[in-house]
Symmetry: C3
Subunit: 160 residues, 3 copies
């Protein structure tokens, strides 16, 4: 339970499972574990109770790069929360493989990589360079579900 | 042949292989099978003869969310058609892993998740929750090949 | 060293490792190798010295489709350069699996598939159809890190 201890030391708390807003139906799994892989759906920032959290809108227009960075860091907690529910123990993640960090971005915003560092920095701090290092993409997309500002999907290696 | 029987019972027919429009060259595989994985290229809606089908344009502007839902359902049939050609039998898909549902979306359209339910609902109906459940992303993108409205890529586990 | 011989015969040179522009921090791996898989981060065109190269901006507006095709071909060299550093020998790539070709595209540009052929054509020429064939997506995105015009991520199978 090394990763969760670290989260505690850092004063970070994993959010409750995502609360789906009324009228929305999400017929998919937040994380799909199969053999030695877990495939993680797109996650945005959540409040402690699992409710959808801002910032909403486009980074580079409605949302500043600094707010975007924090949103990506919160999205990492959302991802970890889903992985914990599926895996029981976050230490079962033996290697982060690839992270797709999608930024709801204004068309002239070139700073999406800096925004997604909010995700990567936290994962590397929690898992260390050997397990935490990952390949990454960080495109700007034209919109995201429910107007979220960032949205992170991942593939990780898991041990039995 | 359980999945194909279900398709028949539902009155659904898989489209013919994609007909590439004149002047377009697509030097890639619609599905790439290797070991226990199949990687599926982005597929949009096809007509029964494999010709590119509408709706074209942006969901939330040119295309309604309901039309987008139907387009995503049609894209599922396109994906299944490619998988059948590669695998011989759709029952060889032992688990859907992750689905990337890309919506050609107006920048202020927040309903991309609802659109992609057209894909997820059909896969879950055909495969049931155990094999059919999948992780998913559903971003809005600024444009898609040939102005398609939706475009779905996937990774699935296959049995020998 | 068959692939590198071919590159030499074609007069193509792999760029030096990416030089990160001042003030930019990229806390992730350009390629993450684990078991029989390598996960490749998003790569754009690089100059011979590894510096970020144009064309910059949106294909279909600032950048022509032909320039986009060349940029995607250059991005293939960037990807190969990262794979060579991680794998030692490019012949260790036993199969290309899936390629995500993201095009920084004007919202009305429908030619993203043609742009990404610049990547696919070179990989198929170097690796031949059996190892080089791949599944592919080629969406248009609203923006890319540092305003690059194209950006390619991939998953490949590697031999020990």
């Amino acid at each position: 339970m090394r990763v969760e201890e670290k989260l505690g030391e850092m004063g970070l708390v994993l959010p409750a499972p995502p609360k789906v807003p009324q009228g929305v139906r999400l017929p998919f799994a937040w994380a799909r574990v199969r053999g030695d892989r877990a495939y993680v759906s797109g996650h945005g920032p959540l409040g402690a109770d699992g409710s959808l959290s801002g910032p909403f809108g486009k980074v580079g227009a409605d949302v500043s790069p600094e707010e975007g960075y924090k949103a990506a860091r919160m999205a990492a907690l959302s991802v970890l929360s889903s992985l914990k529910r599926e895996l029981g123990d976050l230490d079962r993640v033996s290697a982060w493989l690839i992270v797709h960090g999608l930024v709801n971005a204004a068309p002239d915003f070139g700073g999406t990589a800096g925004v997604m560092n909010g995700f990567s920095d936290l994962i590397l701090e929690l898992y260390g360079p050997e397990a935490g290092m990952h390949a990454r993409t960080a495109p700007g997309v034209s919109t995201l579900p429910l107007n979220q500002s960032v949205f992170v999907s991942a593939e990780v290696e898991v041990r039995p």
